[in-house]
Amino acid sequence: MSHLLEVKNLDVKFDTDEGRITAVENISLSVDQGEVLGIVGESGSGKSVTAKSIMKLNPGNTSYNEDAEIILDNENVLQFTSKQDLKKIRGGKVSMIFQEPMASFAPAIKIGAQMVEQLLIHKNINKDEAKSISINMLKRVGIADAEKRFNQYAFELSGGMRQRAMIAMALSTMPKLLLADEPTTALDVTIQAQVINLIKDIIKEYQMGVIFITHDLGVIAQVADHVAVMYLGSVVEKGPVNEILKNPKHPYTKGLLQALPDINNLDAPLSPIPGNIPSPLDRPSGCVFRTRCPHHNPEGKDGKIVMKLIEVKPGHWVDQCGIQCGQNG
């Protein structure tokens, strides 16, 4: 069975003045139609860079490795170079929802004009059709007075409504894959609940694949089918959401869960993960988590164990160094 999206052995490196930074190393992921893949990790773990690679949106100083493949709908995105090809994915087959809805709308152009513009680029339709599609989409995401909002600017909408409009815009071209990069982080909890429910409904309705990036494990538990946990550019553990959150094997996943305040268990102490995330300029060799791992084994500590995911249960993959450490703790 072929997946909607398959990322194989992806490395992403940035050339900077201070040297070459490895932002993402050897990542393999897949997303099926109608499935939500959650990517969790702290800031700087390479979540957004991975997502942006799928649309080739990373800046000019980026280099990808030769043998990496990003197969979307049976085509390797990484080999796309012409504007024509890239247009097919950017906003066509793939749409993206960003964290900060204020920053992702042009402030001086009406919301409606922005929605119509991208529809005209990707679909073979005229302006009136584009307008009616946009207004219907705005209604679909629960915006009251869609006709009025269509003619307003982003600053006239509240935060939650802006995020809804962003979702409407991303969906109006009927993408096969939706990349949601922290779409609820800037929202209040009550609005976050509304937006999460909306995204879940829409995924069901349109049967698209979704990559949902967040640092909030609670949100992941609510929306994702599969989860990949990233740390410093590597996936350290991945598998079905239930398995990862209830039966985590890697010490980093365990650490994240223990650091999270749980409202149902107020007596549990909050235990932070010791130390700081290392700079990507001096990324540890071997297991990337070894500098902060509380249960390190001697070989892992010296960086002698290379990173490699091993299947511990059907569908549940854990980094091999982490399996040993996880057993210690």
Binding site: T190, V219, L260, I277
Partner: protein
């Protein structure tokens, strides 16, 4: 009054608002008729969505916002300070005793000053120390308490991660030996693992230095974990207030219930149906008359729908106060 540090009595804060120079002057009712008492040594939590007036109330208590009516009293050991009626000398004294920790550790620290200068600045501005040596001693002392190394003091803020920067902000707030700290969303910008570290540090410093906190946050699980008393704000009003365990176990107000149900559960099998609140928080320019929550309330009574019930807290259990509209 013996065990209270702060008494907030009927405090309202209004801002003037004029859309453009010909339109009518309006008033924004940011904070309305708030009464709270913050006990010495307590960790007082203030939760609510954006626009609910949490920050305005916090700033009013620090004397950083003008209080439109009501008063705030700070009960010091020897004397009381009335914030609405204070001369310059008193205000200077009060500033030493009440300090603020900001939300964004990236914006709160000057990039051109070394960490030592950042932490020492309050001492110099308030003329607390008399010699450079004394200043250095105080700085080193508080830095150690906030788990910063001596070598860190010579560096500039850009060399530090978010968690370390937040520790620098905390050190700066504590260097003047304050008694009262307002922590405004102080962990909101941090990753979970670092958030846990900072919360533990705040708790530890509280016992070490006898601090009282007003902890402002939108994250209910964080507040439930660290605070002993919690007040829930909505559109400038406190709608429910009580000991945190009692309030989170046994919420009475429909807004508190909705907020609690909206927290995404970490258990994938409990894809709970959150009590969905329709619409968004109304504008503080013209808040609905009567109960401010009634426009979004999932189960309004006939009386409150019409806005006939005025806002006011009633005590349902000792220390647990709920807005009367939801109790009737």
């Amino acid at each position: 009054m013996g065990d209270n540090l702060i008494s907030v009595n009927n405090v309202s804060v209004n801002f003037d608002y004029q859309e453009n120079f010909i339109s009518k002057k309006q008033k924004i009712h940011a904070v309305n008729n708030i009464n709270i008492k913050i006990k010495k040594g307590s960790f007082f939590g203030l939760v609510g969505e954006s626009g609910s007036g949490k920050t305005t109330l916090g700033r009013a208590i620090l004397g950083a916002n003008k209080i439109s009516s009501g008063n705030v009293i700070f009960h010091d050991d020897e004397r009381d300070y009335d914030l609405t009626n204070m001369n310059k000398q008193d205000l200077k004294e009060y500033r030493k005793k009440a300090q603020l920790i900001f939300q964004d550790p990236y914006a709160a620290l000057s990039p051109r000053m070394t960490v030592r200068d950042i932490i020492a600045e309050p001492l110099e501005v308030m003329r607390i120390t008399n010699s450079r040596q004394e200043t250095d001693e105080r700085v080193r002392d508080i830095a150690a308490k906030c788990r910063l190394n001596i070598e860190h003091l010579r560096r500039f803020p850009h060399a530090f991660s978010g968690g370390q920067r937040q520790r620098i902000s905390i050190a700066r707030a504590l260097v003047s030996n304050p008694k009262f700290i307002v922590a405004d969303e102080s962990v909101a910008a941090l990753d979970v693992s670092i958030q846990a570290d900072i919360l533990n540090l705040l708790k530890q410093l509280q016992t070490e230095l006898n601090l009282t906190y007003l902890f402002i946050s939108h994250d209910l699980s964080v507040v439930a974990h660290v605070c002993d008393v919690v007040a829930v704000m909505y559109l400038g009003h406190i709608v429910e207030m009580g000991p945190s365990r009692e309030l989170f176990k046994n919420p009475k107000h429909s807004y508190t219930k909705a907020l609690l149900s909206s927290i995404p559960s970490i258990d994938p099998e409990k894809r709970s149906e959150a009590i969905e609140l329709k619409g968004e928080i109304p504008s503080a320019l013209n808040p609905p008359p009567g109960c401010v929550f009634r426009t979004r309330c999932p189960n309004p009574g006939i009386d409150c729908k019409g806005g006939e019930i005025t806002m006011g807290l009633t005590e349902v259990e000792p220390g647990h106060w709920v807005d009367q509209c939801c109790v009737l």
